[in-house]
């Protein structure tokens, strides 16, 4: 919590006033010039496409180089709501988001607690743990596709040699199984990131609180529940929002690992939008889908922020 004090503007003698204003003007220009690249990026690369996508979603655009683009009002949005495939895809994406984020949070919390322990070669473990996250997502997808291959993947080989399964299994063969494998690939890659976020939060909790709790006779579980988790709420809410947004938008992993199959079983909303907009060239419909994704993410984020503001340690 910050405390603001209102500063009294100092009384400036008249003859000294001009140099002050000139310095402020020059600083203002310098500030404007330095901010210009960022402004170009934000308005050019972020705001312009967002506004343009919104506009295109009200037209029927069926080609990258269209000849006519009739205005259709809300028909694209209407078609989205009427499309059974869209709701199935949304359901799949929600499942992916919730399970993936939940797993990452729980495993990440466990990892963070372990990495926070006072071990001798702690830095070695931290370095190893960060490696999956350093992998580019496309490489991660290609790697898991090799690992999960039904004919000669290493997962099948390992499990049969350990006698855990009897014969080679087609991990990406069924829609349900493939979706869970995509979740596995995503969790494997992103848990280190979550762990490090939570580790930072853990390290900022003063040790005295734990000591006094131990003196009062609190057990490990009680300390975790009553001290660690409440004090970690800001970190957890950051992680939840970031990971939810990322998981909702997942595309490259699906593209490389399964290309949306089998039987659209791993088709997430972002992949569905890509297929509609860029593969089938229905740009109006695809733009409307993109806007719907944004709306969903905003709703999810609002839900989180609301739910987590019960304690004093919330972000709001």
């Amino acid at each position: 919590m910050t405390v603001t004090t209102r500063l009294e503007r100092p009384v400036i003698p008249p003859d000294a006033r001009r140099p002050v204003r000139r310095r402020r003007g020059r600083q203002g220009r310098l500030a404007a010039v330095l901010l210009l690249p960022a402004a170009v990026v934000v308005f050019g690369v972020v705001l312009y496409p967002v506004v343009r996508t919104g506009i295109v979603s009200f037209f029927e655009v069926n080609s990258a180089t269209p000849v006519t683009t009739p205005f259709v009002g809300l028909r694209n949005y209407h078609d989205i709501v009427d499309n059974h495939e869209f709701w199935a895809t949304l359901e799949r994406t929600l499942y992916f988001t919730i399970v993936s984020t939940g797993l990452e949070l729980s495993l990440g919390m466990g990892l963070a607690l372990l990495l926070n322990a006072p071990l001798r070669a702690r830095w070695v473990f931290r370095a190893i743990v960060i490696l999956p996250w350093a992998l580019p997502t496309v490489v991660n997808g290609a790697m898991w596709r090799g690992v999960l291959n039904a004919q000669y993947g290493s997962l099948n080989a390992a499990l049969t040699q350990l006698h855990i399964i009897g014969s080679y299994h087609s991990w990406l063969g069924s829609p349900w199984g493939a979706l869970n494998m995509v979740i596995l690939a995503d969790v494997w890659k992103t848990t280190p990131l979550v762990a490090f976020f939570l580790l930072t939060g853990l390290q900022s909790i003063p040790a005295e609180i734990y000591e006094s709790a131990r003196v009062d006779g609190a057990g490990v579980v009680r300390m975790f529940r009553s001290i660690t988790v409440p004090l970690l709420i800001p970190s957890i809410s950051i992680v939840l929002i970031l990971r939810t947004i990322d998981a909702f938008k997942v595309f490259d992993l699906v593209y490389v690992l399964t290309r949306g199959g089998p039987a659209n079983g791993t088709q997430t909303i972002a992949y569905f939008t890509y297929v509609q907009a860029f593969s089938d060239q229905r740009f109006g419909y695809g733009s409307a889908l993109a806007d719907v994704i944004v709306a969903c993410i905003l709703v999810l984020s609002a839900v989180y922020l609301r739910a987590l503001r019960r304690t004093e340690m919330s972000l709001l």
Partner: protein
């Protein structure tokens, strides 16, 4: 805060307003215009987009491009290679930017690309004698509404390949593989005698490869894609029988169940690793099976015409490709020189074992036929009888719908009839 400087809110609103003002279309909603192409000077640099999967290999194409460079010192070609699955989307997204001058297109795309002005009309560039010197089946590859939008490059169809050694072990006579029923009998024999667990391997992943396999079986079982009025008829007669047959081979354990995740490359690998005994694949496959660096079955694979169905029909899936000039290319004369050169008889004859030549004379030239005698023997019969997938502008979207429904049937989630009925129901509005 200085009352004269704008508040944060004013800046944000001003920025949004400026962005909206910029976004309002000057001449087009998407803010893009169709790139105007130009003939160019006949020299310069060309960007060409090829495929690195089946057909002519990367090595073949690089050799062809090098030969072109020797013959045309003032044109430089930079080839790019992508997988087939990425080729369509790359052509579409690059069309606006005008990145490529020459693109490789599949036989199923001329309708879409021509109607959306992505590839140029090159009817006027066609020499008159091509109508008599080019294979009849090849001439129609890049044709749409009686105009030519590309030069055929690499006739291709799926042949039936089988492992002679494994068949001999099971005591199966190769002559019985002339019908699909015979293939099933052979597969049962291979399985029951313990020669191989899953004798058949297919490319039934959710991709165009699945439609190619389905098309070939659809033809064999006497089905059709469209009726005379242009309506989808895959949910009738032969269309349903073919899908039921496909599903039954999985249920009976004759087809590798992982086939629903395979593309042609995986069929190639399973056959070359001795993990399958029979399968259908493109022309290029036989060469890879005899490449000792990757194949464990060198000299064991044989090729024949695709088996016939119950009615005796046996059309092969037309998997030809064509080289097109991008509509937005500023160098169309030079692009034509490249296309003309690498599709000439002299060039294609050298790589006949990877994809079939488009010229009639090649099939009578002894040296060409000798480069892949078994393939040419099968091609001589199969090329006369090819089945085309529907040539409609929105084929891409319809194919995706059919792929999903076929997969649902193959995975046992729906019956074949229900899956095809749903496919027709969902795809029909997209046909308009």
């Amino acid at each position: 805060m200085n009352s004269l400087s704008p508040t944060r809110r004013q800046v944000l609103v001003g920025g949004l307003a400026a962005g909206a003002a910029l976004a309002l279309p000057a001449c087009s909603v998407t803010g893009t215009k169709a790139k105007k192409g130009g003939n160019g000077s006949g020299t310069g640099t060309l960007q060409a987009l090829f495929m690195q999967q089946a057909g002519y290999s990367t090595k073949d194409v690089t050799a062809m491009v090098n030969a072109f460079h020797s013959a045309n010192a003032d044109i430089k070609v930079t080839p790019t290679f992508v997988t087939y699955e990425a080729l369509h989307d790359k052509i579409v997204s690059a069309a606006v930017a005008g990145t490529y001058d020459v693109v490789l297109i599949d036989v199923i795309w001329p309708a879409e690309f021509a109607s959306k002005s992505i590839v140029a009309d090159i009817t006027s560039r066609y020499p008159a004698d091509w109508t008599s010197t080019m294979l009849g089946g090849a001439l129609a590859t890049a044709e749409y509404q009686d105009k030519q939008y590309g030069v055929p490059w690499g006739m291709d169809t799926k042949f039936f390949y089988y492992n002679k050694t494994m068949l001999a072990k099971a005591g199966v006579d190769a002559a019985s593989l002339d019908t699909w029923e015979g293939v099933l009998t052979a597969a049962r024999a291979l399985k029951s005698k313990g020669v191989i667990k899953y004798p058949l391997s297919w490319s039934w992943s959710q991709a165009e490869a699945l439609i190619c396999d389905y098309t070939q079986l659809l033809g064999a079982f006497g089905g059709t894609f469209l009726d005379g009025s242009g309506k989808l008829t895959i949910n009738q007669g032969g269309g349903v029988d073919a899908l039921k047959w496909m599903r039954q081979t999985i249920v009976d354990g004759l087809t590798n169940p992982a086939s629903t995740t395979f593309l042609e490359a995986e069929v190639e690998k399973t056959l070359n690793n001795g993990q399958a005994a029979m399968g259908i694949n493109w022309t290029y496959y036989l060469g890879t099976s005899n490449d000792s660096s990757g194949s464990k079955v060198v000299g064991q694979m044989a090729v024949q015409q695709t088996p016939s169905g119950p009615g005796g029909k046996r059309p092969g899936c037309n998997g030809a490709m064509a080289l097109s000039i991008a509509q937005g290319s500023k160098n169309q004369d030079a692009a034509w020189k490249l296309v003309d050169f690498i599709s000439s008889e002299q060039q294609l004859d050298q790589y006949a074992k990877d994809a079939l030549p488009i010229w009639k004379k090649s099939y009578d030239t002894p040296s060409v036929v000798q480069s892949a005698p078994a393939t040419f023997a099968a091609a001589a019969k199969q090329l006369d009888d090819l089945i085309l997938r529907p040539q409609i502008a929105n084929y891409n979207g319809i194919s995706q719908v059919i792929q999903v429904e076929l997969q649902k049937a193959l995975l046992g989630k729906k019956s074949a009839q229900a899956a095809l009925d749903d496919a027709v129901k969902t795809a029909t509005p997209l046909m308009a």
